[in-house]
Symmetry: C2
Subunit: 439 residues, 2 copies
């Protein structure tokens, strides 16, 4: 039979849903659409979903990249209406209802969710990024890991005391949960895990400094827990500098007003802003570049476009902003999935989104953490156990959970780190031995 | 007391031993010198010792880099007479008895062991390296892993059949143990682990081709085991081409005489040659660039310099070359360490080195392997169990062993791979969607 003579049936095209970003919001929206009569395409520029809350543990050599990442495809493999595309989005043509890709091709959508997360904000000082990298991707984390480990390698053979001191000074900027957790992890690495392997470095020499522009650590938590975090960090030998905004960062040094700290390793955990999505969409956004959204996460005047996660500036009914943490992003994604599904099926959309706060957690080191569940506040070992169990539970994939549990138990018992690798910079790892011929 | 007036005692300087390369030979020499009255410096351009026999499993997403690598420092941390330096060696000044580093500094030695391993040999066609990378380092392995996984990602959205076919054709060049193991792992990845995650790719489409210039696979093993390996690979759907020397490799294609195979992923496992050490030392070397050594691994005319592992061309008493495998390198290193120690202590040096062959093993896939112990030959599940236990046993570090065992058991039960990450190439991972706007 000639193809052209094939009888044509009347077909109703299934709506196309495009989800840009396979973070917590994007993935949970896709999963909420499991039974929807729609074709879902999830686009991400990485092939993996990343469990971002544990990224700092990759940067400090506790976990391997594969422990906190899972191929997006694997997660969605049993969902027949979903496809996954590894690609870089460069813009959105809202008039043509199409997502634009880096090679100038485009993908049409009927409904769109933009959940592309956040990037670092250097408050207008983009040249600081080179000297004070942040941690947002696996590549970022392995780069920071290499920086930290190389600093120790170089310090071991540094001849001048001032040079060794700069190599062994680690500065974290930003006293939010990421900064606090990262600082605690660096302190444990420097004081316990690593120094026994070196001959010229003693555990006491390393300086770990946490800088916060505001008056206290963990500003999103109750003051009692801020104090507890400060106490725990100090017990690990961390210097904490509150009320000290950074005024400049150069290679190997950081300025706090007229005071200069010489440090070879500086990590940025101070500010984030929304991804480029606000530019793509052209609508109103807040100071941090996050897109203003309606109560149902759609954007004003473009009801078929939703924005969620760290990309959105969502104001809850009580007037508070929705926090930029994984559980909030997941809940938003699930709500949006249900909202789209109802619209596709012509049913009433779900009632207003209500964020359910399961608590705030931050870990500081072995057996040290703070947790705020509203009705109860925990600190020390109980908080740490809750933190560990919650993070293992929410990790995606049985193998990752087991692998992370094994790594943590091993670290707990031995104080050693399993992932102390310097990779990805074959040409830069050699240590200068000039003037060290008699080593 | 003035420093200059300090009384001077007669001190006997401890001999300085420099070991370049912390592979199997270098590390086991350092460990054999544990009780020697000497100062040992181990120099490597990576911070980790690599368990090379399992590198192909990183390239095929079964294991994570941290599973097969351990910081050199951690391994030697309890050996008080040993220090570790992360640095790149560029040459050896044999007259001045000094090792030259990349920054033009130098390190003096009394005894020297050069064990810098091997690199790939493209038999004079160095331009092939770009299109057919080999696997020698963790960075090589993660790059090949990204190539393989990206080929599937691109094939999923390829519109033209010829393009999809080229993307799903994987060629391994070289039928030795590395080539056989790598081919088996790619076949299992393509046929079992990965294809269920894709919508447009069925498990049958992928072509996996193993090319060998000689008449049989595993030429170092008995013919019966070569046949068994061939049979096992064919049962995984691998095409095997024997007696087919490669005549040219270009981007995306490989020539065998007048026959061209279009393949986007080509991996080189065909030839190795000694590292640059032969050039450094200036002495005689064999065709593969390996340094000719005496029966005690010292080099002719330079008794204080030893060469071992893949860098040395060592001929056993029976006339056979010492095989380029981990157990042989370990035994050589231990012998050299004992030899140096005896010379330092003025004692008789150990009698001639005798290689103890514990057997030859190669694995092909789940429950498939071949093993030759001389007195017994194994194949199938028994060989695979011996292979698994031997490799877990010889892995350095409790945590790595446990982590590898967990990964293997998980893969065995679920057919899934735990380390399917595309990392390290943020800018290149986007898939061309040109002409795919209606995807």
């Amino acid at each position: 039979m000639d193809a052209r003579s094939k009888p044509k049936y009347l077909t109703v095209r299934r709506p196309r849903i495009v989800i840009v970003g396979a973070g917590f919001a994007g993935l949970s929206a896709a999963q909420a659409l499991r039974d929807a009569a729609a074709d879902i395409l999830v686009i991400d520029r990485h092939n993996h979903h990343l469990f971002q809350p544990l990224l700092y543990q990759v940067a400090t050599a506790s976990l391997s990249p594969a422990d906190i990442a899972q191929p997006i495809r694997s997660i969605l493999k049993d969902q027949a209406n979903a496809r996954v595309l590894l690609a870089e989005v460069t813009g959105i043509d809202t008039a043509a209802k199409a997502v634009l890709l880096v090679d100038s091709s485009s993908i049409a959508y009927d409904y769109l969710l933009v959940a592309t997360g956040a990037r670092h904000s250097y408050f207008g000082n983009d040249d600081w990024a080179e000297h004070a990298p942040g941690i947002k991707s696996l590549d970022d984390a392995t780069r920071v890991r290499a920086n930290i480990l190389l600093a120790f390698e170089r310090a071991e053979f540094a001849r001048e005391a001032y040079r060794r001191a700069a190599l062994l000074t680690f500065v974290v900027i930003g006293g939010g949960p990421t900064g606090v957790e990262l600082t605690g992890a660096i302190a444990e690495l420097a004081r316990k895990s690593i120094t026994s392997d070196f001959r010229s470095i003693s555990a006491r020499v390393a300086r770990i400094i946490l800088i916060e522009a505001g008056p206290r650590l963990l500003p999103s938590m109750p003051e009692a827990l801020s104090d507890e975090a400060e106490k725990s960090l100090r017990s690990l030998g961390v210097e904490i500098r509150l009320n000290q905004p950074v005024t400049d960062i150069k290679a190997g040094s950081i300025m706090l007003g007229r005071h200069t700290i010489r440090a070879e390793t500086i990590v940025w955990a101070a500010g984030v802003r929304g991804s480029a999505a606000a530019d793509w969409l052209g609508g109103p956004s807040d100071r941090a570049g996050r897109v203003a959204v309606n109560a149902d996460f759609s954007i004003p005047g473009q009801g078929e476009i939703y924005v969620a996660g760290d990309t959105a500036a969502y104001r809850q009914e009580n007037g508070c902003p929705l926090p930029g943490i994984a559980p909030a992003a997941k809940q938003a994604g699930a709500y949006i999935g249900a909202h789209m599904k109802a619209r596709i099926e012509g049913k009433p959309t779900p009632k207003a989104f209500a964020y359910r706060n399961f608590g705030n957690l931050a870990t500081i080191g072995r057996s040290k953490a703070v947790a705020d569940f509203g009705w109860i506040k925990l600190k020390g070992l109980p908080a740490w156990l809750v933190w560990s169990i919650a993070h293992i539970y929410f990790l995606i994939g049985f193998r990752n959970r087991l692998s992370v549990a094994v790594s943590w138990i091993w670290s707990y018992v031995t104080d050693q780190r399993g992932a102390r690798l310097i990779t990805g910079r074959d040409c830069e790892t050699s240590i200068s031995m000039r003037r060290a011929s008699q080593c």
